[in-house]
């Protein structure tokens, strides 16, 4: 009986969270579609989420591309297939590692920042103040962040793809002895438009998830500084898990048989 009761309790709590998140999702999407639009806020968020994330995304891509080239060279040499380094780096970065690693790095940086900012606004009654000033918190706070993250992530991933391939190229040509022109030709010949666009579509989904989780946890934070800290942690953890889970489903849709 006790076991059944705890299963029931878990089911109730889980359903409540899913219901709350679904309602937040619908309200957020509607607030992106229905005017008024706060373009100044959108511009500010594009700068914060996009431009300010460039260094961390760039460095992650550079070192990932470099390490990937080394690993493929070492692994490929076991069956005399060292020549595939350029091809695998290109496909690995554009299809998987570029969007997923950029998504996870931005989740850590942006989702936490959004949850902390909105959470602090919640506990200091600034969100209530917005309502009393006839301004919808969803339109003023949530919509610009959702739109900015959804726009910025594909741009960041485009840059990450380029830098990641560059990392592989540098290791391949400087350490592993590949000819520069051959490496580039192999990359350009092998890579297809679908490899890049699938990664960019994934990135847009990840951007939406990152902002949604940051806004959701920040908006519902309670209990002072501790509550804001909890919201920040939950935002990063849930965004990261959802990015990895949705990546699997998107990969199945794009490349599944």
């Amino acid at each position: 009986m006790l076991g059944l009761a705890s299963v029931g309790r878990f089911a109730l709590v889980f359903s409540a969270i899913v219901g709350k998140l679904s309602k937040f999702f619908v309200q957020s999407v509607l607030s992106c579609l229905v005017p008024p639009y706060f373009l100044g806020q959108l511009g500010r968020q594009l700068w914060r989420i996009g431009y300010n994330s460039l260094p961390v995304v760039g460095l992650t891509a550079l070192f990932t591309g470099s390490a990937l080239a080394l690993q493929i060279y070492i692994g490929g040499s076991r069956f005399n297939a060292e020549g595939i380094v350029a091809n695998i780096v290109a496909i690995g970065i554009t299809r998987e590692l570029g969007p997923v690693l950029a998504g996870l790095m931005v989740a850590g940086r942006v989702s936490a920042a959004i949850a902390a900012e909105i959470g602090t606004m919640r506990v200091t009654e600034q969100i209530d103040a917005l309502v009393t000033l006839s301004t919808s918190p969803f339109k003023y706070l949530v919509a610009p962040r959702l739109l900015a993250a959804t726009i910025c992530l594909p741009l960041l991933v485009g840059i990450a793809d380029t830098i990641g391939i560059l990392g592989g190229y540098l290791v391949g040509t400087r350490s592993l002895g590949f000819n520069s022109a051959v490496y580039l030709k192999n990359t350009m010949d092998f890579i297809e438009m679908g490899d890049v666009t699938s990664g960019l579509i994934k990135a847009a989904v990840f951007g939406f998830i990152i902002a949604l989780m940051g806004c959701y946890h920040g908006y519902h934070s309670a209990g002072g500084a501790q509550g804001v800290g909890r919201a920040t942690t939950n935002a990063v953890v849930s965004a990261s898990v959802l990015i990895l889970a949705s990546n699997y489903f998107l990969t199945s849709i794009f490349f599944g048989e």
Partner: protein, 255 residues
């Protein structure tokens, strides 16, 4: 017709009943102060009227319009009638002072920033703050100055109804009195209807036309501010004299 009318409003959080059937009428142009101890439901009452919380049952009418069933977009336009001074100020720390004051005009009423700026500076002047304060960040201001800026923000859009949530809490007696004077002056000049909640009796005596006392989620007394000292109500007497003995019992855990 009263400006604000509440009828049997109840609100619970889980098993805790915070409002147990509040009924009160706030006449237009009057300043009503709700007094009561901490945790008696004052802030919840204010938030229910503003629509920040949804009451479990009962009716809340503003200018005769039932507001508990309004759609969000209808509520947004209803909020244009309101100004609110929050206990902690609730100033937007990402914006300079003048943009805080102009926020309701620029974002809520879609006034251009060029037109809103002089109105914001005028509101700051009305609460005794100079122009150079307008460019500062809220974090650079003292508690008293933040309250003044919050008051300027509440009156900048010339609302019909102004709410004051613990306007003098955390301020020294002189600054508190300055804020009280500013509240009286602002409400009088605007001809607005005011609803304040406080446990500061000096503040209540100064700004109220009518005082209501809330205890255990109910209004236990209501009358003209001049009658507060001879209300004949034992709850009110205990509260205004700050006595530990009386019908109001504080739950104190003893080990």
């Amino acid at each position: 017709m009263p400006k604000i009318a509440l009828e049997d409003v109840t609100k619970s959080f889980g098993s805790k009943k915070v409002l147990r059937g509040i009924t009160m009428k706030i006449p237009a142009g009057k300043s009503v102060v709700v007094i009561g101890g901490s945790g008696t439901g004052k802030s919840v009452l204010l938030k229910c009227i503003l629509g920040l919380l949804k009451p479990d049952s009962g009716s809340i009418k503003i200018d005769g319009v039932e507001v508990t069933t309004l759609h969000p977009w209808q509520r947004e336009s209803m909020m244009r009638k309101f100004g609110m001074l929050f206990q902690g100020g609730a100033l937007f720390d990402s914006l300079p002072v003048w943009e805080n004051v102009a926020f309701g005009l620029v974002q809520g009423k879609r006034t251009s920033r060029r037109k809103a700026q002089p109105i914001a500076y005028d509101a700051l002047a009305k609460v005794g703050l100079s122009e150079d304060v307008g460019l500062l960040s809220p974090a650079e201001l003292s508690g008293g100055m933040q309250k003044r800026v919050a008051l300027a923000r509440a009156i900048a859009s010339q609302p019909e109804i102004i709410f004051f949530d613990e306007p003098t809490t955390g301020l020294d007696p002189i600054t508190a009195d300055v804020i009280n004077d500013l509240i009286v002056e602002s409400v009088h000049n605007l001809g607005a209807t005011a609803l304040s909640i406080t446990h500061d009796m000096a503040s209540a005596r100064k700004i109220a036309d009518i005082i209501a006392m809330i205890y255990d989620g109910k209004i236990v007394w209501q009358g003209p501010a001049s009658d507060i000292d001879h209300s004949g109500n034992e709850y009110v007497d205990q509260f205004i004299h700050g006595r530990a003995q009386g019908p109001i019992k504080l739950e104190v855990k003893r080990s």
